[in-house]
Symmetry: C2
Subunit: 455 residues, 2 copies
């Protein structure tokens, strides 16, 4: 067959690139598990009736059908028809309801899986991509300290990834909605439309937002107050003072201010490359958030949009008897790393897990070489025996091409009849015992290499 061409929107990686992606997933998982989040996987498909519940995203859903389904059969109902999940929240809500009798609440879970959306592909937007979600779910009630927890866990997880500086912006819906109420915006509908208008601040600028608010019926003074609130930022509870200074009050505002102050006291500030900062313009478009909201951008790559986002929802799921509130954050693994991998800003130090290539003197020496390789593996050192007994120069160059740092010479391959290992980056060769020699820790696994351009 002719050489296949890539499918737009479905990124795929060469082995060295995939090694970086795998390490990212491993690191996320490690952090989530250290904090007691249990890993689950849900099936890739859900009934269309579940996937279409939110309405607004139905254009993006991929329907799955058997090739030889009977074309004359009555069309299947959306309860029976299946589609690929487009996020991990809808399947998780279903999982919680389906298995609630077997789960202990509050239930803390992480989930790292592919999701699919039939969107037009572009940089940072894919049709198949990997998401890493953490959520804590309660049955009936869920204390606020879990909001603090998910922010801390995701900030810690992101701080361990090979990424440029990140800015995790947090806000609180109660604060914003309470502020609007205190200003006299007095219907749910008016509060919601004000929120939607302010959410466009970064896209259209303050003048256009003010015009929208006034057109929506707000007075000039109220519109200005909304914009002044949206301009407030900070990493500690001075943010609360700045809001108070605007002279507005309402019970809901007080509640939101308390929550935001608690969050900032515990999690505000900088950890490695991640800054957690209150930014009161952050609204998150989705209706179901009811308290804390957060989104993270890469500093300098804000045009890629948020790489991580989430919030508190009072009703993740409900079965009529019990309502399950939750708080969670999703991190876009593909969305964040695909652009970095694609332009070479990040790659792996080698195209194989092997830290050592065991050289071969002759095909007859293969069994002996295999034994020495097995001795290295028994101590956790990834290695492989050369595929052919070529001249040593050729074997070394083959290792070099794949980025393997060490070549091992079994006893029968050295002048003095004792095994030796060569660091082919320096050319230094030393006698070595396969039962005890160990490479430097940094060479044991594939390293993550950043290009100079991206620091």
């Amino acid at each position: 067959m002719p050489r296949p061409t890539p499918l737009s929107g479905y990124p795929e990686w060469l082995p060295a690139q995939r090694a970086v992606e795998q390490q990212v997933v491993d690191e996320l998982r490690r952090t989530f598990e250290l904090h007691g989040f249990a890993g689950i996987e849900t099936r890739a498909v859900e009934p269309m009736s579940q996937l279409l519940r939110k309405g607004e995203i139905d254009k993006e859903v991929y329907v799955v059908s058997r090739l030889h389904a009977d074309p004359d059969a009555a069309p299947e109902s959306d309860d029976r028809r299946l589609g690929l999940h487009f996020d991990l929240t809808v399947p998780f809500a279903r999982y919680v309801l389906e298995h609630s009798g077997h789960l202990q609440f509050p239930f803390r879970r992480y989930q790292i899986q592919k999701v699919w959306r039939g969107e037009r592909p572009q940089e940072g937007r894919y049709r198949e991509f990997c998401q890493a979600d953490i959520d804590v779910v309660g049955d009936g009630a869920l204390p606020f300290h879990h909001d603090v927890e998910v922010v801390e866990v995701m900030a810690e997880a992101m701080s361990r990834l090979p990424l440029p500086p990140l800015r995790m912006q947090v806000n609180n819906r109660k604060l914003v909605q309470g502020f609007y109420r205190g200003l006299g915006v007095d219907t749910d509908e008016a509060v919601a439309s004000t929120l939607r208008a302010v959410d466009k601040l970064d896209k259209i600028g303050p003048d256009a937002v003010r015009a929208t608010l006034v057109a929506d019926g707000l007075s000039s003074a109220v519109a200005d107050a909304c914009l002044r609130l949206a301009a407030i930022e900070g990493t500690d509870s001075s943010v609360v003072d700045a809001v108070r200074a605007l002279g507005v009050s309402s019970p809901l505002l007080d509640e939101g201010l308390d929550e935001l102050a608690t969050l900032l006291d515990a999690a505000g500030g900088t950890r490695g490359n991640v800054q957690v900062v209150a930014a009161l313009k952050i609204a998150r478009g989705l209706d179901y958030y009811t308290g804390t909201v957060m989104e993270t951008v890469m500093v300098g790559s804000e045009h890629l949009g948020s790489i991580s986002a989430g919030g508190r929802y009072d009703a993740l799921a409900s079965d009529g008897r019990t309502t399950y509130p939750g708080v969670g954050i999703s991190f876009g693994v593909t969305r964040t790393f695909a652009p970095l991998l694609a332009r070479g800003a990040l790659t792996g130090s080698r195209s194989t897990p092997s830290a050592v290539l065991v050289a071969l003197a002759s095909e007859e020496a293969r069994p002996a070489a295999r034994r020495e390789a097995a001795a290295l593996r028994a101590r956790g050192i990834p290695c492989e025996v050369a595929p052919a007994a070529q001249k040593y120069g050729k074997q070394i160059r083959a290792a070099e091409r794949r980025g393997i740092p060490f070549v091992w010479f079994p006893a029968e391959a050295t002048d003095d009849g004792a095994p030796a290992v060569r660091d082919i980056r320096t050319g230094e060769q030393v006698p070595a015992d396969p039962a005890s020699w160990t490479p430097p820790a940094a060479d044991l696994r594939v390293g993550v290499v950043r290009s100079d351009a991206d620091g």
Copy 2:
């Protein structure tokens, strides 16, 4: 919404079960990487034209389409229409062709991913399931020692899994076909139909196979010889003597015998729970195998069919200029473990990664408790702070219900004002420093628990 019901053929696990599945995947990956196999992932979808190339399995393919695709548009060609992959071999062959210019050959890769088939679900047969494949692929040629390698690597990987005794049966197509040729079965078609008939030996028994062979035109004596060959088994090169004793010879038979003897010398016999044994009845139905073939069964659960299978194929892929021969084995992760998890023969020791629950004296003590938890995590100990400051007895029982082995009491929660840790299985409580205390290694991760019934 009402409680959702499971989807037949799409197994899903509770957290303790998922922990076992995750450890299986980790262990497979670790072994593959120790042997220098590079991990890749391919997208879930392939063009239908690729998926339907083999013809025989087209009924099983799931087609993927956008919900709002224009119903009046001309139907898409199979080059553009997409389906979910039903194995990892078809996508890997496409990957090799697409990226051949960027790969180093021989290319050793592993791939652990979900695949989908629209089959009727039953025990051991699922619609969504996880496969773990290893393959070595060459450009133009691939030496036989790679056949030995994949058998050894998969046997080693399986020997590290929590499984009952396994029997990995190997054979060689050249040997069998050469034997038939030596008997005078002299057309490709007759050789193939003889192979297919013998492949049914376990299902229909020797008498029915003999009848089929004779009906196909073989003499009684030739049919008997085919059955005598199929009866030969053994873990060493005595198998070769047994074949020679049948008094048949042909150049292809010699080649096959040499290969099988080499394989048995290096990999025959028992490693842990895995026995590698030549069984000359093994044929593997698929046409594309050209030399080594292998399949693995669980001893005592042969009715579940093979849990791992593979072989040598002279043409994994071809772009017209270069042909890529390969040898590989696939291990059915879901197929093997779903029945064991579903009937409780295996489960995890706890429903959370947390080895420690940090108890809480009061809500005010939460920040201090969080600091002690962070000190434990800094040394790789998964832990969590109690969700509420209930009575200690309640906090301990909550840990017990989830299988968490240790409860940590921060300084302000103990009588003497020094932190302490209690093993809640024994009740033993000792003073402990969060900067140095470590649980026994066996308690650090979720353990795999086998039920007595399955040993």
